[in-house]
Subunit: 265 residues, 4 copies
Amino acid sequence: STFASEAGPRDQRIATTRLPMLSLPSTVRNNVVAGLGEFVGTFLFLFFSFSGTQIANSAPATTDEINGVVPPNVSVVFFIALVFGLSLMANVWAFYRVTGGLFNPVVTMALFLVGGLGAVRSIVVIIAQFLGGIAAAGVVSALFPGPMKVNTTLGGGANTAQGLFIEMFLTAELVFVVIMLASEKHKSTFLAPVGIGITFFLCELIGVYFTGGSLNPARSLGPAIVNTSFPKYFWIYWIGPILGSLLACGFYALLKSLRWRECNP
Amino acid sequence: STFASEAGPRDQRIATTRLPMLSLPSTVRNNVVAGLGEFVGTFLFLFFSFSGTQIANSAPATTDEINGVVPPNVSVVFFIALVFGLSLMANVWAFYRVTGGLFNPVVTMALFLVGGLGAVRSIVVIIAQFLGGIAAAGVVSALFPGPMKVNTTLGGGANTAQGLFIEMFLTAELVFVVIMLASEKHKSTFLAPVGIGITFFLCELIGVYFTGGSLNPARSLGPAIVNTSFPKYFWIYWIGPILGSLLACGFYALLKSLRWRECNP
Amino acid sequence: STFASEAGPRDQRIATTRLPMLSLPSTVRNNVVAGLGEFVGTFLFLFFSFSGTQIANSAPATTDEINGVVPPNVSVVFFIALVFGLSLMANVWAFYRVTGGLFNPVVTMALFLVGGLGAVRSIVVIIAQFLGGIAAAGVVSALFPGPMKVNTTLGGGANTAQGLFIEMFLTAELVFVVIMLASEKHKSTFLAPVGIGITFFLCELIGVYFTGGSLNPARSLGPAIVNTSFPKYFWIYWIGPILGSLLACGFYALLKSLRWRECNP
Amino acid sequence: STFASEAGPRDQRIATTRLPMLSLPSTVRNNVVAGLGEFVGTFLFLFFSFSGTQIANSAPATTDEINGVVPPNVSVVFFIALVFGLSLMANVWAFYRVTGGLFNPVVTMALFLVGGLGAVRSIVVIIAQFLGGIAAAGVVSALFPGPMKVNTTLGGGANTAQGLFIEMFLTAELVFVVIMLASEKHKSTFLAPVGIGITFFLCELIGVYFTGGSLNPARSLGPAIVNTSFPKYFWIYWIGPILGSLLACGFYALLKSLRWRECNP
Ligand SMILES: [Ca+2]
Ligand SMILES: [Ca+2]
Ligand SMILES: [Ca+2]
Ligand SMILES: [Ca+2]
């Protein structure tokens, strides 16, 4: 077979028939892999998340408004949260050893601040993540019948300030878990994709009803561009996740300054 | 006990009282094990998946059509997707060390292209998988009351082209995860059945409503034969999964040519 | 503290102040541990399973009969199956290193036939399992308001023969997974409680609607005695699981005679 | 970056520019870490649990009372139990290596009795857990629209005695699993957060409908203080968990005195 011929024992031969790209310096080539991997990974993560949200939001409404607020449908919230959680888990698991499977600009920012990710790599990765989010929204819009219904909006009677703090708290939880499970190396680091997916599932169970559960500027930007729909409070999907990421980094730095590893030896 | 007597210390004795089959050359015997294992494994995977689908599709409809489209019932979609995901997870786990637990002709094709599976073994296994799918459909049809309701059909207003691309994208995700978790060896390879089951659960959450979530020609062929029901778009359940598998193999080959292992050491 | 004083460094002292029971020969003492562990473990497994079933079966019926058959409520089936699956997973995990966490006479039978469990130990354990099932039914009946609603009965239009074969197939799956994950030692054996719980969850998703999903004579006997309610087809909850267990053992013996470990090295 | 500069190679420099707190004796500093970690961890565990409960309890009632009892809504019970289970799993995973991730005064008590946790550390941690519970209730009350609906109350027709014993049994299960999975060291100890989260999920599936599923005085006290709402049976949320924890410790001590490790070598 064609592809298998590139494996193992024939690597020597490939070295003499290499693609032009392989002549690039390894730093450049690694940034190409990181950018490509995060673009495709973010695309897949959000393609599945948006697709599931599209299905759940096509279910007929089961309840009327009460005092001007649509009450939550727990089955719909659960379905959307589950799809986001499983999609992050599956795709981080697949891309973990390629690029780390970040798929989120504010997670990237946190690993730049505390995890040793370089500045150039961070910028490459963040650009790829935004492009992946836009591509996912475009494909979902085209691939499924009817208008796309996956934009993040305030709900459940939450005002802008509440939405901002909800996004901040949920992102802080997600980023702190990423730092403790994936960045801090230990015996269960190979299971980090599972723990991160579970945590994101949890965050979405809380976030979906009130803010749409963004935690990720690339997740909110893609559908907003494709549907050209930017509510006036759209800034909370930038500032909330950024503040949450900084909060998690700050708490981690405090634990580190207190030498937490000595507490529970 | 009779069975236990064949274990451990008495293996010597068995060698002298062996079944005729054990006189076969080991290559033949291993192909018998592979064929038998994939037949039984695919049968069990689809027996449980079809049984759960049968139950969920026996629940009374809760909503009327809207503009000629039946809206999704998220509880029913969730139930069906869960049964497919858990059934793949459990049965891959059980058969992983016997045959690899492929249970799907296009996964077999991918491992032939990139994973070193041999040509003869691949053909044996694919035949066993189709037979397993037909057997599962036959048993489910006989074992449960009423007509069998597990055929893959288009829904949710999706047209044939959309159905084709949905099957392609979902299969690409599944096959890419199989390659990265099971074929590429690493520290969490022993957990591949869990990751593969989770990914298939995710794919079914998206696929069930629009295409029935096949991703697998053997899954679609079995019930179609038993119910002698082939819609005119039935070809998408062959071409969609094949294209998806090729797409995943191609992306993997691209990553490999870029030496992805050097990106995130 | 009193209990902690029995740990580690003071084990010497305990040896001189031992309980009378510790003067027993170790074989007897180990059988006491096995019997006690399986009694408490089976009690806990079924106490949680019955409690969750009691809750789900107290939910108001949402649909009328159709042609004399109550259609499935997928949310209720899911809830009951989830409680059974999680309860087996949690309690097997806790008791795995104590007694193996069998909790089921036909699983015990299978490990006697193929897993090297001794005859005396098997009998002790099976008696403990039946007593644990009766105790769990008694406590659930007393602890929760209203009559206990956890007996296994045929439903969904299934006749006795269909019920028998459904119980047989589901038990065969469960027992085969137990053999491959827990009895055959390998790298992920320490995760067997998770895989077994997932498989039982799957089996219950199929079984609850048609037969109540017994797979276990001790699970059916306890509530039948406490409610003194034995339907005339009650024998299927003995014969179905026994046949399923034998089927799994037979298939395993066939794989073993074919030297399955050489197939996929 | 500022934070990253504190990592690895520059630890030497930090030693000369240390924070005043680092001049504290290590015993004091470790107690500060334990108290801070358990405060923040308990806050996060309960913040997510309360938030999800708030959402589920805002869903409109689907059924009328039957004989003075509100029947269970299995979707709502499932949602609440899931949020509690995932929140414990995620946050124990994140804090496991910092403080052990106890988040519950009666779990702390059990580890004092059988797990070697010191008396001073236990008191520090228990105070932090109560403060974390109060803080979580206060933030949830402020952050989400409308009155907070997360207090633990009797339901489903359960009387005070039944509520007491339900709390006791559920806590005994949780504490026994904590002891066997986390305190007793073995090959899967690194997975204890997963097993503990699954077990708590199970306990909540049973507890939510009848008692609110406390198992934890800090979980009940926080909302009771913030809403200044103490039902006259509030004492069961203290005595039930304490009795359950003692029951689990007693059974563990019995197994230990019987040398359970020799039973299943
Ligand atoms: Ca569209
Ligand atoms: Ca039939
Ligand atoms: Ca009763
Ligand atoms: Ca409020």
